[in-house]
């Protein structure tokens, strides 16, 4: 038993040491740093570090730009998550349909954007959104819609980023939902059909309840992912126009690595984490209650 123990520790030690040093330690340090005025001077010499208590948090909560970034991120999540999941569900139902041909081909095509490099496809979409030469405005023009200044109009920049995010991500949840659809027993559909249920009733009373737990999981995963919005605005809009696409993480990045207010940046990271955690718990609660009802 003892020899056994030692062998086991040798197996887990490398991974645990890496995780402890490069993840757990930094997370704890982030909490401490967020209570200090950690800056470029402290980075050069730790003796310049001063404890400032909750000052960073206080400053953030009275900083309009932080609130703006928070609102932008919420806007992105509230618009992006339902659209993403709706698209994923639609795609999964279509691919799963018995009437569908070439299913695996469609599945592959729909999934392809997921594996692409976000920075690269953001560059591509910036071009698709181009006001004069972009393909989207051209297509909209064909149905009589005037060109939209996607990247230059504060009202349209975030929706544009949502379009990119939905395109990039819907395939991921589609795969998970497809697996869940295939797990719903065929007997349930048969029984409902014998009772004379219409297609809509089948969807509403067999498919949706069957998918409910997976839908909850998928919406939590998507939501926590979307709270971490960063690369899309970094590449497409640099947070503009008029800071309309400045996300919380972008704000943290600028605080930390442009202005080198590392203490404040850590406070931003922590607030984002607390927020994400709270929304996840809320969603789990709501999900459970739905499930019980």
């Amino acid at each position: 038993m003892r020899r056994f123990d030692r062998a086991a520790w040798i197996f887990v030690a490398p991974a645990l040491i890496v995780l402890a040093v490069f993840f757990f330690l930094p997370v704890l340090a982030a909490l401490l740093i967020s209570l200090t005025d950690f800056d470029l001077y402290a980075l050069a010499d730790f003796s310049n570090l001063r404890f400032v208590g909750l000052k960073n948090y206080g400053q953030l909560l009275t900083e309009p730009l932080f609130w703006k970034s928070l609102w932008n991120t919420f806007y992105f999540v509230l618009l992006g998550v339902p659209l993403s999941i709706g698209t994923s569900l639609g795609a999964a139902l279509l691919v799963n349909s018995k009437l569908a041909r070439w299913r695996s081909l469609f599945r592959t095509v729909y999934f392809a954007p997921v594996v692409t490099t976000l920075v690269a496809v953001a560059v591509v979409w910036r071009y698709i959104f181009h006001t004069r030469y972009g393909f989207l405005n051209y297509t909209l023009g064909l149905v009589g819609i005037d060109p939209i200044d996607w990247m230059g109009d504060p009202h349209w920049a975030m929706p544009a980023i949502v379009i990119l995010a939905v395109w990039k991500n819907f395939g991921y949840n589609m795969i998970i939902l497809l697996a869940a659809l295939q797990n719903i027993p065929e007997d349930l559909y048969e029984a409902a059909r014998i009772d004379g249920a219409s297609s809509w009733q089948l969807f509403r009373h067999v498919t949706l309840p069957g998918l409910a737990p997976v839908l909850l999981l998928v919406s939590i995963l998507t939501m926590t992912g979307y709270f971490q919005l960063f690369a899309e605005p970094y590449v497409m809009t640099e947070g503009g126009p008029l800071q309309s696409t400045l996300s919380v993480l972008y704000f943290m990045f600028e605080e930390g690595f442009k202005w080198w207010s590392l203490g404040r940046a850590s406070a931003v990271a922590f607030l984002l984490f607390v927020l994400m955690f709270a929304v996840t718990v809320l969603q789990l609660r709501l999900g459970r209650r739905e499930g019980a009802a």
Binding site: F11, L19, F106, Y110, T116, V123, Y234, F253
Partner: protein
Amino acid sequence: MKRPVATVLVNTALIAGAIATAFPLLWMLSVSFMPSGAASSFPPPLLPRAPTLDNYRQMFADNAAGLYMLNSALVATAVTAISLLFNTLAGYAFAKLRFKGREQIFRALLGALVIPAQVAMIPLFALVKQLGLVSTYGGVIVPGMATVFGIFLVRQYALSIPDELLEAARMDGASEMRIFRSIVVPLLQPILVTLAILTFLATWNDFMWPLIVLTQQKLYTLPVALASLSREHVQDNELMMAGAVITVVPVLVLFLAMQRYYIAGILAGSIKG
């Protein structure tokens, strides 16, 4: 009579969806072969009238795309190799070896999944700076050398290895390392392929941490280099499309070749996660 109509509807919707999904990638490819300026016209051209490799030549000759590609390949390969080894060792031990505190440690690791990586980033930067690793390949690689997700994935798979098999080997006097190498690793092979692909693609595509830690241009990975180039060449659409193709095609090809393993990983990671 109702069936054929529904069939046409479903398949039309699928085809329309596929065109909309594939279009950005196809257009990217097409425009990357257009001469400079050709894509800035109305209506937007679908296919290059006079296909040229000029953009690729410019990317590789003037903008060091080859170097960035090498950096990306190097970093992604190193992270994949190291993390695969560490995660497999740990994942197997959490599944099959008994040691004190095993369950508690594993539960703590799973709990840590709710903490987004960005929370650790600022102290991580200070730490990497202390270690003298800012703007080195090492700085990009070290935080990825082990992942909770990887340990979890391997553990779930390793649980199915029969204990009798390991016991029999122990009876024969095989050391734990020997058992790991000659029995466990071959049995884990499918999940190891899956984990390797997931890790390689995720590292190749990673952006925020390399952007923070790589301050010298000659060490840039493709996404960091492309983001920086795209800010300089806002109007140069044809060139940027070539840059995007160079960045995306390697991972897309890898995915298409290993699709089955990749999708298995997503399902294994999400259903129990």
